[in-house]
């Protein structure tokens, strides 16, 4: 009787596993892909090391504009010497701790709100108090804070103000418009369609122009609205029309049976929407909604055309200073990084939210 011999377990050939296997399967699986890989590697070799040399090694970090021109690499001095103007614009220099503190409160609240288990009543109160405090800090006028007119607001706080209020107000408005567009009531439906199509039919720039130039013409003499507020309203109106169409897509994806089941247990229209339809429909459209919100965030930079000094405009102002002229690459890279951080955290958060909400599938 033959003895069973313990054979050493056979492993797949070395060319199919591990690093070599991966490289073979993903980079060199065919003539075309191999050529593509080699060309790409060559381009990376040509581009990446010089970039690092420019950005990190030959660069000037904290010098005058004059000294910068001698340096072979990037002139980050334009940021380090001007960061307070870029971030806070014309806000009085001595008072700039106030917008800084306001922003920190905002970031703190946003960070704490990440976790859905924190979405309870106290958080709502925290937001109300937080928003009130932020407004107080920015505007001043009491508690010994000197008054700062909103015409002096600028830079990152202005961008964040327009973005945060713009997005949080546009989203619910968009949902209401989407529901209105699918309403049985013909008047409501017609109004919503008219609104959505009119707003989508014009560029944001023209809305901003209208809000700053044409709208005041219709106001009685002596009555004025804050310019930032007008831009804010224009952004909200514009974004909500796009959100409405995205949400409508989600609503159309809901089966008739869900409505019928909700109705058959006696839920009225409002409860059917709130408890059954919207939770499902809004979840489906998280990806396009976030795209829309990200694009709205970036669109806030268009307020430069009505002479509001948002982050992009303050950066450009620094560039028009003779001492720093010509360092636009560095300045724009810096602004791009700030915008990227904002957009990337939004998309990151949406992915987290999607994961959490997909338990039922």
């Amino acid at each position: 009787m033959e003895q069973a011999v313990q054979v050493k377990e056979l492993r797949p050939p070395i060319t199919h596993i591990g690093v070599i296997g991966w490289v073979k399967n993903n980079l060199f699986n065919g003539v075309f892909n191999s050529i593509l890989t080699i060309v790409t590697l060559f381009l990376l070799w040509k581009v990446v090391p010089p970039f690092f040399r420019w950005a990190l090694i030959d660069s000037a970090w904290h010098t005058t504009g004059q000294a910068c021109r001698q340096a072979a690499g990037a002139c980050w001095s334009i940021i380090s010497m001007n960061y307070r103007f870029i971030l806070f614009g014309f806000y009085p220099y001595e008072e700039q701790w106030r917008p800084l503190l306001a922003m920190l409160i905002l970031f703190g609240l946003l960070f704490y709100s990440r976790d859905r288990s924190h979405w309870k009543k106290p958080l709502a109160y925290a937001w109300i108090i937080g928003l009130f405090t932020m407004g107080l800090l920015m505007k001043g006028g009491i508690f010994g804070l000197s008054s700062v007119e909103s015409t002096q607001w600028g830079g990152l706080p202005l961008t964040l103000l327009l973005a945060v209020f713009g997005l949080t107000a546009a989203y619910p408005l968009g949902v209401i418009l989407a529901l209105g567009r699918r309403s049985q009531m013909h008047g409501v439906k017609a109004l919503c369609i008219l609104y959505i199509e009119l707003i989508r039919g014009v560029p944001l720039i023209s809305l901003l122009f209208m809000s700053s130039i044409i709208f005041p013409l219709f106001l009685p003499e002596g009555v004025t609205f804050n310019k930032i507020l007008r831009a804010q309203v224009a952004i909200i109106l514009f974004t909500s029309a796009y959100i409405a169409e995205v949400v409508r897509g989600g609503l159309q994806g809901m089966s008739r049976g869900q409505y019928e089941a909700a109705e058959s247990i006696g839920l009225n229209y409002y409860l059917t929407m709130r408890l059954v339809i919207l939770p499902q429909a809004l979840k489906i459209v998280i990806p396009p909604t976030v795209s829309q919100l990200i694009s709205a965030f970036k669109d806030t930079s268009l307020v430069v055309i009505i002479a509001l000094f948002d982050l992009l405009k303050t950066t450009q102002s620094v560039l028009s200073n003779p001492e720093w002229m010509g360092f636009s690459r560095e300045a724009y890279v810096f602004v791009a990084i700030l915008y990227f951080l904002g957009c990337f955290s939004m998309s990151n958060y949406s992915r987290k939210l999607e994961k959490e909400l997909s338990r039922g599938d």
Partner: protein, 252 residues
């Protein structure tokens, strides 16, 4: 069971010359029907005959265009409050279950009681557990509908309706979307419900169920109730040619 005399405590549902059109198509052509309290009715008929539309008119998922429908003394008219009141009293079970996929089973069941009946959450969930027990799946309470089999989902759907303490239950082809091995578990729950004296109107082709449970079997064709009779008479002695043809097709 059907031999026992039903306890007639008065009328639950009444149709008086009800007509309905889908565009040009005349789906219901003068329906007259009276359903007593605790009566169990099975409606059968070829597809497109209007049987689903008929029961969907009872809780206003479809609107009738002529005639009158009275449910538990309330006439169905175009009044939102009125309709919501009737819907809370009328349970409905659908062919495709229509559970709410984003809620757990127990949340599905407690939704109506909490929001329509204003029952405290804890109490509503206790009631939900009681009814889940009745349909024999208390262990699934914390799962989501997508994790359950078709038969289990349909039993949850029945329990969801029962949670509202309905006076009448409507079943719209409750077993048509199920795999054959799951039909029995759903029918068993329906039979138990019948034994407790629930008023039921069931659209189904399960003739075994009709035989053992129904007080009356109705046959519908082309938007009319062609005939209605006790199960024995209906199956033994169908009066109309169309009924005989239909029965021969489905009974083989």
């Amino acid at each position: 069971m059907n031999t026992e005399k039903k306890a007639s405590e008065g009328q639950m549902i009444e149709f008086i010359d009800v007509h309905k059109w889908f565009g040009e198509f005349h789906v219901l052509q003068g329906i007259n029907l009276s359903v007593d309290k605790q009566e169990r009715i099975v409606i059968c008929g070829p597809s497109g005959s209007g049987k689903s539309t008929l029961i969907r008119c009872i809780n206003r998922l479809e609107e009738h265009q002529r005639g009158r429908i009275v449910v538990d003394g309330i006439e169905l008219i175009n009044n939102t409050k009125n309709i919501e009141k009737i819907r809370a009293e009328v349970g409905m079970v659908f062919q495709h279950f229509n559970l709410f996929p984003h809620l757990t089973i127990v949340e599905n069941l407690a939704l109506g009681p909490i929001w329509v009946r204003k029952v405290p959450k804890k109490e509503a969930e206790e009631a939900a557990m009681y009814y889940l027990d009745k349909v024999h799946i208390p262990e699934q309470a914390r799962k989501y509908p997508g994790q359950l089999s078709g038969g289990q989902q349909q039993r949850v759907a029945i329990a969801r309706s029962l949670c509202m303490n309905p006076k009448v239950m409507l079943f719209d082809e409750p077993t048509s979307a199920l795999d054959p091995e799951m039909i029995k578990e759903v029918l068993d729950v329906m039979i138990e419900l019948a034994q407790e004296g629930m008023t039921m109107i069931v659209v189904t082709h399960e003739m075994g169920f009709a035989r053992s449970v129904a007080h009356r079997v109705l046959f519908m064709d082309f938007g009319k109730i062609v005939e209605g009779n006790t199960p024995e008479e209906f199956f033994k002695n169908p009066q109309h040619e169309r009924t005989r043809l239909f029965l021969s097709q489905i009974l083989h």
